[in-house]
Symmetry: C2
């Protein structure tokens, strides 16, 4: 449950190793969990011996691949000064839109699938990594925004974690589980944008401070 070692490991990779992990990632997206060491070696034009030397075993390669992908999505910090309702709304919509884009991407779906499978097989390495770099990373980035909104008198809540989880639910709804289960659910940019606006409005309706007449209703 700690997110400490992902930076070092991703920094310590050579360009060649990154290329190999990119190949593994592409293969994972294309073929799902049944990617074989032979297939990775062929796709990356490297030998299996090298794979085993660098990553130990198949699980090590999988773990390195997930961490490599996780290290690629970096944070865009949100400025907390001059926060008003408009900028708070924009921030929340941005978070919602980004998150929907992530969970509906082929890469995220493939990674979550293999992590879910992995979690079902005793060792929960991949599950913890995906969770740490997905849902928990989102919470860490969003919480400061929520706190700032509360300090600015725009939001009202007693438990930031509960508020975050409500926002999470309003944004994701059934999208992720449906995609993971293979449902064809086209998440176009327009749909994502609309969902982000709706989720933000609903969240503000629930947690927005009652000072002032901003009570938009969802439809």
């Amino acid at each position: 449950m700690q997110a400490s070692t992902d930076i070092e490991t991703s920094e310590a990779l050579t360009e060649r190793q990154k290329a190999v992990l990119d190949a593994a990632l592409r293969l994972l997206v294309e073929e799902g969990d049944q990617l074989t060491m032979t297939a990775v070696a062929r796709r990356a034009s490297c030998s299996k011996e090298t794979l085993y030397k660098w990553f130990g075993d198949r699980d090590g390669l999988l773990t390195a691949t997930v961490q490599w992908q996780a290290s690629k999505v970096r944070v865009v910090p949100v400025d907390r000064k001059g926060l008003d309702l408009a900028s708070l709304t924009a921030s929340l919509e941005r978070f919602a839109s980004d998150w929907l884009k992530v969970i509906s991407s082929d890469t995220s779906i493939a990674l979550n699938r293999v992590a879910v499978s992995h979690a079902g097989s005793g060792k929960d390495d991949l599950g913890a990594i995906v969770l740490e770099n997905g849902r928990f990373a989102l919470a860490r980035r969003l919480k400061p925004v929520l706190d700032a909104g509360q300090q600015a008198g725009l939001l009202e809540f007693s438990d930031a974690e509960a508020a975050f989880r409500t926002f999470f639910g309003l944004v994701a709804r059934d999208v992720q589980i449906r995609l993971l289960l293979g449902d064809r659910l086209e998440m176009t940019d327009a749909a994502i944008g609309g969902d982000a606006v709706r989720a933000t409005q609903q969240f503000l309706a629930l947690y927005g401070a009652k000072t002032g007449p901003q009570g938009p209703r969802a439809g």
Copy 2:
């Protein structure tokens, strides 16, 4: 995407076959996706030849197992007459509580894990079945309640599907994905009950008709 064949197949099973599927289900919960045909045969005290004769191949056994479990959870219809705010609230809380109990159960987690893995491997049979008997079955059962609430003047929405999905998000939040990814998340009866009440109140705050002073706020 149709839910037609699950009834017939489950009815056509002999007691012995049901016992075998129960054994497979228990094994699936205990050992995850790597249950072998040999293990199922041993656990069920039957021969592998019988397994292949009855279910065709491993995928057939998996499919039959998932359908068998799906056929076991039956519907408790909700009476739509004399609907007032109290009974609507109770119905929604009941749905929320039931759903949280389902998605946090070992059986559901194991089934969803294998279905997610399966969906990642081309054939999306299990994913469609789980989706059909889970999320879509819930929608079919809840929609009449929402419609009745609207006709009784208690709810306001233009799109029942959107309203349902919001309810779904408010109830499930991040619970299912965290459990699927192996997060230790103890869902006690008390926590489930509290979540059900909170989700219902939030849903009513968003979709409740504005006639009358019922605007409880979540904490």
